[in-house]
């Protein structure tokens, strides 16, 4: 332990924050402080929340329990390089490879300098940096880590998978049935979102962010709206805040229903899948009637929500909740009473408490392995302020624990929904977005169904977006899937993968 505890707090206390960023401070740091913060994260002093680039700057968002808020530190990298954080703190490795691919800034001292999102298929090198023309190559060459040993064989899977899922490549090295090592290669769904967001008008940017991961569209729009509102000092009306909560929890239960069903289906227990499919459909049908979109896409906008709901709509939602709550409790009993199903889920795909802490893994991945964190409670925001909210935490770290986190979260979400719907505040649901007049920055975290999403935005004086970075929870979950599947059988990969349900699109940006 070379670092004294609390060294990050001591380092930050000497700095003064930029006036333009709200609500959490952003500090310019020198290279030495940057490295010491990275080492502090590696020592377990805090959580790495995000790391992203600009053509000449790298930013790192972190959360230290001793500080009241998360914060951002920024390092000038005009020379084209910055000291690697990943060399000390592994969760930063893929983030740095992405910064190198997109902005051309090199992490000095990094152990892994392979490209990540750049598969050699674009017309440009460093498309968001110096934009040099590139010859397209066949994007299949990639130096997977060698795995040496007797009797090992490789199984390549993807990017086109057997099911109706997103594209990604999994390289298994197996010894007979047992997985010795999995290495994932992602980036197939990379659409260049950060490039499109730079210079975008506000409404265009909101529509792009809402489409970075369709299953989390509400949470993404919610985080983007809150980052914009922080930047521009917008006060959102209470009714809009409550309706945002309603949508966020509807999205959560719809996804959890889908996941619980799909996990059981991957354990060949189709009955629960069939019932959960109906529950999910009921939520989406109600969302479509009330919010005019099954996934509630574009329903949360900076300043409030896009449309108000009526008394009839409240009734539709309450009736739907009554139906699915009863049905779901029966399915939960069935899950609990079926040893043949638990034979597959218990003990499969274990992730250790140490790993989820190191990676600050959000959502069911973290909470199934003892990480007691939920941004609704721990980085609280409207409408979750002041709510007595139980965060379900389990210790086993296996597929079963990830199922139980989802089950308990569905129950908690239904309680929240009933409370809000019984007493929706009256009043307007949208306020106008004022002119920026100067450069402003905002940052926000919201709790998506799979974990915390972070959005950072810089607004130009004319109100357009200068920069926007969106960090999906999957960044800190995908690498843990590789740990979860080790020493499990290859045939259990779909089960383990579904119990994580990471987003490919949200990660690939």
């Amino acid at each position: 332990m070379s670092m004294p505890t609390g060294s990050i707090v001591a380092l930050l206390s000497k700095l003064s924050a930029h006036a333009q960023q709200k609500p959490w401070p952003r500090y310019d740091v020198d290279a030495e402080t940057w490295v010491r913060i990275g080492k502090g994260l590696a020592e377990g002093e805090g959580d790495l929340l995000a790391m992203w680039g600009e053509p000449k700057v790298v930013h790192l968002a972190l959360r230290v329990a001793a500080l009241p808020h998360p914060c951002v530190v920024s390092l000038n990298a005009a020379g084209g390089a910055f000291p690697s954080i990943g060399a000390h703190h592994a969760p930063a490795i893929r983030l740095e490879r992405t910064i190198s691919d997109l902005y051309g800034l090199k992490p000095v001292g990094a152990h892994d300098v392979r490209p990540w999102l750049d598969h050699g298929a674009w017309d440009l090198h460093v498309p968001l940096g110096k934009r040099r023309p590139a010859d397209r190559s066949v994007p299949t060459g990639y130096a997977f880590r060698p795995v040496l040993g007797e009797g090992l064989h490789q199984i390549p899977v993807g990017p086109v998978h057997a099911g109706i899922i997103e594209p990604g490549h999994f390289r298994f090295t197996a010894n007979g049935e047992t997985v010795a090592r999995l290495e994932a290669r992602l980036g197939y769904a990379h659409k260049g979102a950060e490039g499109l967001l730079s210079g975008a008008a506000l409404d265009k940017a909101a529509r792009i962010v809402a489409r970075l991961s369709g299953d989390s569209t509400v949470a993404l729009s919610f985080a983007f709206a809150r980052a914009m509102e922080a930047a521009l000092d917008i006060q959102v009306p209470p009714r809009a805040q409550a309706l945002r909560g309603v949508m966020a929890e509807l999205e959560r239960i719809a996804n959890h229903f889908g996941d619980v069903g799909a996990i059981c289906n991957d354990a060949a227990f189709a009955l629960i899948h069939a019932h959960c499919g109906i529950f999910r459909e009921k939520v989406l049908l109600a969302a479509d009637r009330v919010f005019a979109h099954r996934l509630m896409m574009d329903a949360i906008v900076p300043g409030g929500v896009a449309r108000d709901i009526g008394l009839d709509d409240t009734e539709i939602l309450i009736t739907m909740l009554d139906e699915v709550a009863v049905g779901f409790s029966e399915v939960v009993h069935l899950y609990d009473d079926t040893p043949s199903l638990q034979d597959r889920t218990c003990g499969a795909g274990v992730v250790s408490r140490e790993l989820v802490k190191q990676w600050a893994a959000g959502g069911h991945v973290g909470r199934a392995s003892g990480r007691d964190f939920d941004s609704r409670r721990d980085v609280a925001y409207a409408p979750y302020f002041g709510l007595a909210y139980d965060v379900p935490v389990f210790d086993a770290g296996d597929v079963d624990a990830r199922v139980w986190v989802r089950i308990r979260e569905v129950e908690a979400s239904i309680r929240l929904l009933r409370a809000w719907l019984a007493a929706l505040p009256q009043g307007p649901v949208l306020v106008a977005v004022p002119a920026a007049r100067e450069i402003r920055e905002g940052i926000a975290i919201t709790e998506a169904f799979r974990g915390d999403v972070l959005v950072w935005v810089r607004v130009k004086a004319d109100g357009t977006i200068a920069r926007c970075h969106v960090r999906d929870p999957s960044w800190f979950q995908w690498p843990l899937l590789e740990a979860a599947i080790a020493n499990n059988i290859v045939a259990d990969f779909p089960l383990c993968n579904k119990s994580f349900n990471c987003s490919y699109a949200g990660h690939d940006l």
Partner: protein
């Protein structure tokens, strides 16, 4: 489990009625299907879904087709794990540069006769991702497309209407004009 099964015996089915084929989709796929294909297909098609870069919104709704409410298999439509077993590729986009070769290879691995359905505003056009260095755009910029089902994402019922139009054209079962649902 017994009570759950017993309840199912007395409960009404949750499955909705069959929607009419989408008239515009019928006209589009009618052109694409020749007589030989109609004989080959009968009233059954097997689909391989390919996500060529979508946000996963379209995948959520395509997955919903298999739930008890839409029950796509009652129409003779099923999803296959391999393109080698497929008659139809159901492709979402926008096609990214990083997925171009995988999509081309999946198309090549699908036996003739085959049809391609582009799904979603991104797969049919380029959606909000137009102009990015990382995307090629609509599916028909990479492989030939026979039917477009737009929407962001299209509702399952809209997907169903489009796919039933594909089946109807394949079986030459004409519906009276004006049955546009």
């Amino acid at each position: 489990m017994r009570t759950l099964l017993l309840k199912s015996l007395f409960a009404k089915p949750v499955t909705i009625g069959a929607p009419a084929a989408d008239a515009a989709a019928l006209a589009e796929v009618g052109r694409a299907l020749d007589l030989r294909a109609r004989r080959l297909f009968g009233r059954s098609i097997t689909i391989r879904e390919v996500d060529a870069g979508s946000c996963n919104g379209c995948e959520l709704e395509i997955n919903a087709l298999s739930n008890a409410v839409y029950d796509v298999e009652r129409f003779g439509i099923r999803f296959a794990a391999s393109p080698r077993h497929a008659d139809v590729l159901l492709v979402t986009g926008p096609v990214t540069h990083n997925m171009k070769i995988a999509l081309e290879r999946t198309y090549a691995a699908t036996p003739d006769p085959k049809w391609v359905v582009a799904v979603g505003d991104c797969g049919c056009g380029c959606g909000v991702f137009e102009g990015s260095y990382a995307v090629i755009g609509a599916v028909d910029k990479v492989i030939p497309v026979d039917l477009h089902i737009r929407g962001c994402p299209p509702r399952p019922i809209e997907l169903l209407r489009g796919l039933i139009a594909l089946l109807d054209a394949a079986t030459e079962r004409k519906r009276s004009a004006g049955s546009h649902a």
